[in-house]
Amino acid sequence: MLNNVHKSFGDVRAVNNLSVRVPKGSIYGFLGPNGAGKTTTLRMIMNIIRPDTGRIEIFGDSLVEQAKARIGYMPEERGLYRKMTVAKVLAYFGALKGLAGNELSHCVSRWLQRVELTNWAHKKVEELSRGMHQKLQFAVTTINEPELLILDEPFAGLDPINTDLLKSIMIEMRDEGKTVIFSTHVMHEAEKVCDSILLINKGQAILDDKLAHIQSQRTSHIVSVELEGNTGFIERLPMVTAVESDGHHLEISLTDSADTQELLKSLVNRVRVKRFEVKVPSLHEIFVDLVGKGNEEDS
């Protein structure tokens, strides 16, 4: 969808030669530290700002303006007309996205219900609490049942309950075959919902893959076990490089070529295994690892 996109602001290269293809029907996370170029990229997708060079295609077409009725975009900077009522704000944005008549009023009431704001429909926006405001903002984004949902830092400022509500709607939409792109710098949020991620730093992609694939590739060589019996022999196994012991709980580091299945076999033969877990690296660790490395090279 994005092809060799550049965008500079003065001397600052906000996005540098970025190429991305977001698969249909998935949840795609744009991850990166502050100032990595996430918002700029999303704005370019929405044609709010134009790339200096490169092409952006949505639904296989470069005319973004025509596709806007099929997209829902929630910017990082949020706001709604404070003097209008909740229902009217929803209806207005619905109409701007091409809904009309019965369909419009149907969508308005459906989404009010879905974000639990039906009782507030005729209150003015300025009377809403912050959390309700956020939910209304989300409803505004999705009022037209978009095929592509673009959310810039959607969880910022939400409490855990509303965060879960948002996530469940995102997953629901993915299951309906829609595409969700969202940006965040909070890794564990991405970990829970993303199918694929793109890791950006300084306007460049450093990682772009399916989440499952990333994690399987980066299996760490640490196994966490709980054993009963004498564990002294483990240190002497050829595939083991180090053991950290805490009573029955052990963290075993293996050589690069070691197979965890072999380790399990040799353990089962000698002691009773209560728990055996190959540690999957968290996205957070990958993030810190990659971004940290990138920044070190610079300095």
Binding site: R43, P75, R78, Y81, Y92, F93, T141
Partner: protein, 423 residues
């Protein structure tokens, strides 16, 4: 196009509903009516009693005493609220000493004015000399009256010396004048007073002022509207549904509609009032048509400029500095209107007609002052104005696009130029 209309509709409805807007619409005619009402009251001179004015007089001719007394007594009877007290400083033998006395009195503020009538005032080239010392602004107009009263006294004395009857002379000089405005049928004649004539002079001004208020007033609305959307951060949400150009066009259209509504209401109200006051203003459909054309074009010009200004600022405060030069341009016709009405085809009028921001106001002034203007000139001015509108909108759209997403820092003039050139 549908989106532009939808944006326009919202702008229109949401603005019309606000209390400030409704108050604003109602207030303006009330204020204007109030000003007219009170100024006419004031000029009738209904003021409370004021301190009497003291005037010292030295009559070197020694023959005017009676006439002076008579003329001031008559005045004092007619104006009980503003009396003038005369005190005589008789010139015994030495006129210089007396005059010095009189001047000292004035300097010590014992009197408000000192008048010396020359010895040969009745037959020779002598003068009435009125001395004042640091006169108060509130007394300036009474000095006028005093001068006239002395002149009256001198003239009356001259009549007497020539044995002329005052009554006869007054009778001979009296010629009543009646100005009649003819209607289209013979029984529709209307007698016109002096105020009617003055009001007639005001009609072109009224038309111009209507354009001024409409353009500037809605321009202000536009700027605060953009700032509000920017500060409430709603703008980027809007941009996810519409393009910046659609948003800008919708806003201009919606506020243009508001402007037309307001100006239309005021014009109708003014027309009804004028009719009710017996003032027959002939407004041709041609003039109304030109008015609408010039209004719309002028409105588009200023609002596109102001949208651009609004988009690069973050607070109303910031906009004010940039509004000043724009507003100054619109003040020019307000200052120059009298000259334009007196000489609608003069050089100044013509030059102003072809300076786009001034065109609407000046052209309406010229057209409504009833002179024949070359049709080619009218069309040329409209075309020039339309071109200016297109250029302004084009530039404004570019600035708008960049400006609305800039938070924090206001764009400098150089940066604005750059983003016009670039995109």
């Amino acid at each position: 196009m549908k989106k532009i209309l939808r944006v326009a509709q919202r702008e229109y409805m949401e603005t019309v509903k606000t209390k400030t807007f409704i108050l604003g619409i109602l207030m303006v005619p009330f204020i204007i009516g109030g000003i007219i009402f009170f100024t006419s009251r004031m000029s009738r001179g209904k003021t409370g009693p004021q301190l009497p004015i003291k005037v010292a007089v030295t009559d070197l001719s020694n023959e005017l005493d009676d006439e002076i007394k008579a003329s001031f007594n008559k005045y004092n009877q007619e104006n009980p609220n503003r009396q003038i007290r005369i005190q005589n400083l008789e010139a015994q033998e030495d006129s210089d000493t007396v005059q010095k006395q009189g001047r000292d009195k004035l300097r010590q503020s014992q009197v408000d004015a000192y008048v010396v009538l020359d010895r040969d005032i009745l037959e020779g080239p002598g003068k009435i000399r009125l001395y004042t010392y640091k006169p108060k602004a509130s007394n300036i107009d009474i000095f006028w009256t005093i001068e006239n009263l002395f002149r009256r006294a001198v003239v009356n004395q001259r009549y007497k010396m020539q044995n002329l009857s005052q009554e006869l002379l007054a009778k001979l000089q009296h010629v009543p004048i009646e100005q009649v405005e003819m209607g289209s049928a013979d029984d529709q004649d209307r007698v016109q007073s002096k105020t009617d004539r003055a009001l007639r002079m005001m009609v072109p001004f009224f038309f111009m002022y209507l354009i001024f208020l409409g353009i500037v007033g809605t321009g202000q609305h536009m700027i605060s509207n953009v700032i509000e959307e920017k500060s409430s951060r709603v703008i980027e949400v809007l941009l996810s549904a519409v393009s910046p150009f659609q948003l800008m066009a919708g806003k201009i259209l919606g506020l243009g509609g508001i402007g037309l509504t307001v100006v239309g209401l005021w014009a109708v109200a003014a027309y009804i009032t004028a009719r009710w006051q017996g003032l027959n203003i002939d407004v041709t459909t041609e003039l109304v048509l030109y008015f609408v054309i010039y209004y719309i074009l002028g409105f588009l010009l200023i609002t596109s400029l102001l949208t651009a200004v609004g988009s690069i600022c973050n607070t109303i405060k910031e906009t004010q500095g940039m509004m000043m030069p724009i507003m100054m341009v619109f003040i020019i016709p307000l200052l120059a209107w009298f000259k334009v009405v007196r000489d609608p085809n003069g050089l100044m009028s013509r030059v102003f007609s072809f300076l786009p921001p001034l065109t609407p106001m000046v052209m309406i002034l010229r057209l409504s002052s009833g002179s024949d203007i070359w049709k080619v000139e009218i069309f040329a001015s409209i075309i020039l104005l339309a071109v200016a509108v297109l250029v302004a909108m084009w530039a404004a759209a570019k600035v708008f696009r960049t400006g609305i997403l800039m938070y924090g820092k206001r764009l400098s003039f150089r940066e604005v130029c750059r983003c016009i050139r670039q995109s």
